[in-house]
Symmetry: C2
Subunit: 245 residues, 2 copies
């Protein structure tokens, strides 16, 4: 995916906070080409003065029509909250649509259109789209905030499926010898404190050993625990045989 | 995943718009338990009066400490913009962290913590977390808007990987007979209009036939095109042999 090939197109945005939020999400996820079709003038000016993502707003382009804003793109994708069956446009879930857009972004410019806060994309705007994409929001409340919709769509584009797989643990786990010392120390403490008999039964010893293993301590944390247990053992009152002061 | 088991916890949020945006994203993606730790009072009150997602804000719970807000959860996950290596907490990318949370949400309550707009989660807050999650934002600008961060994390939780796979086409494609008629009509029009010779060479005919097949028309669109071509053919001036009209 070449992020330079994506054009985020906001059609008739009204709220400067939303324009700013769209630009911020673009900056977060590494996209830079923002285009505005007939933005509400005051909104655009206010958004430009907002903090962060300033370079994206500064270089944002303004267009009079959707046709002009998407002219250099070979794929034009609209976003929608509802199913809009009347459009005869394929409506794709974000997971699948994102995959198609990523594939195209490898080599060719793609336009991703977002409608106004209040009405979404009009039918005239959608007529410029090859297909329409929909986030998996609830049917009962599918309409997303504009800034959030942009963020979620862009996240899907930069998302790396291979990252969802577990990685080999980098943190070194405790070695068996350390956990055996942990078990011995704990058993001594439990015996001296009367939680178990002075002569620990072998079934009890096994239970405690398994309990310790289940902690699955890192090597680092095992060291800390051993230090604490040694100190506790040293301080603890001896059992009834009185061999310890 | 049981969405009723997720607790979205905003720690010290300051901006009513962000609280409202978090609630809206929760409503979009089907989550309902919002918890606030020490919210700025005015912000919480203003957010409550905001449109949409009202039921989530109305039932939002307020807590004095992070410990209280996460008390019933068996997994507590923080969110962060930076790597925060000093914490000795595993920092997981959203793709992988989301998978772990989904797995736990099948049976047990999980808390997902978001820090204040300005400072994120403090070290004291993060000490309550089992691990920390980070969206794949740019190193140079990793800090996301609070409402957008909530939306992106929740989207990852409801995202269905199996949806990314292409589905069998539901729209019926044109049958070969229709495309053959399309090719014949187009060839006749091209001959009558002088674009090709009246006696079309077979290599030209093959080129035009392949050109038509590449359109990959749906059955519905093929009907429309056939109607248009028939009308054009009927109206077009005949070639130089003058057999028409």
């Amino acid at each position: 995916v070449d992020p330079e090939l994506l054009r985020v197109v906001l059609v008739a945005p009204r709220n400067p906070l939303n324009i700013g939020a769209a630009a911020r999400a673009m900056s977060n996820f590494g996209f830079s080409h923002l285009r505005l079709v007939n933005p509400y003038d005051v909104a655009f000016r206010e958004a430009r003065s907002a903090v962060r993502a300033g370079h994206i707003l500064a270089s944002a382009e303004e267009f009079k029509t959707v046709a002009d804003a998407v002219a250099d793109c070979s794929l034009v994708v609209g976003t929608t909250a509802a199913a809009r069956r009347e459009l005869q446009l394929p409506v794709r879930r974000l997971e699948y649509g994102g995959r198609l857009i990523r594939r195209r972004l490898a080599s060719q410019p793609v336009a991703l259109l977002f409608g106004s806060e209040k009405f979404g994309l009009a039918n005239e705007d959608l007529a410029h789209c090859h297909w329409v994409m929909r986030a998996p929001a609830r049917e009962e409340h599918g309409s997303m905030n504009l800034g959030q919709a942009v963020a979620v769509c862009l996240y899907e584009l930069v998302r790396k499926p291979e990252e969802a797989v577990s990685r080999p643990e980098r943190k070194k786990r405790a070695e068996a010898a350390a956990m055996e010392e942990f078990t011995r120390l704990l058993l001594d403490i439990l015996a001296r404190s009367g939680y178990v008999h002075e002569r620990v039964e072998s079934s009890t010893e096994m239970k405690i050993r398994r309990l310790a293993r289940r902690l699955d301590l890192s090597a680092h944390d095992a060291e800390i625990w051993l230090g604490m247990l040694r100190q506790v053992l040293w301080r603890i009152k001896p059992g009834t045989d009185g061999t310890f002061p």
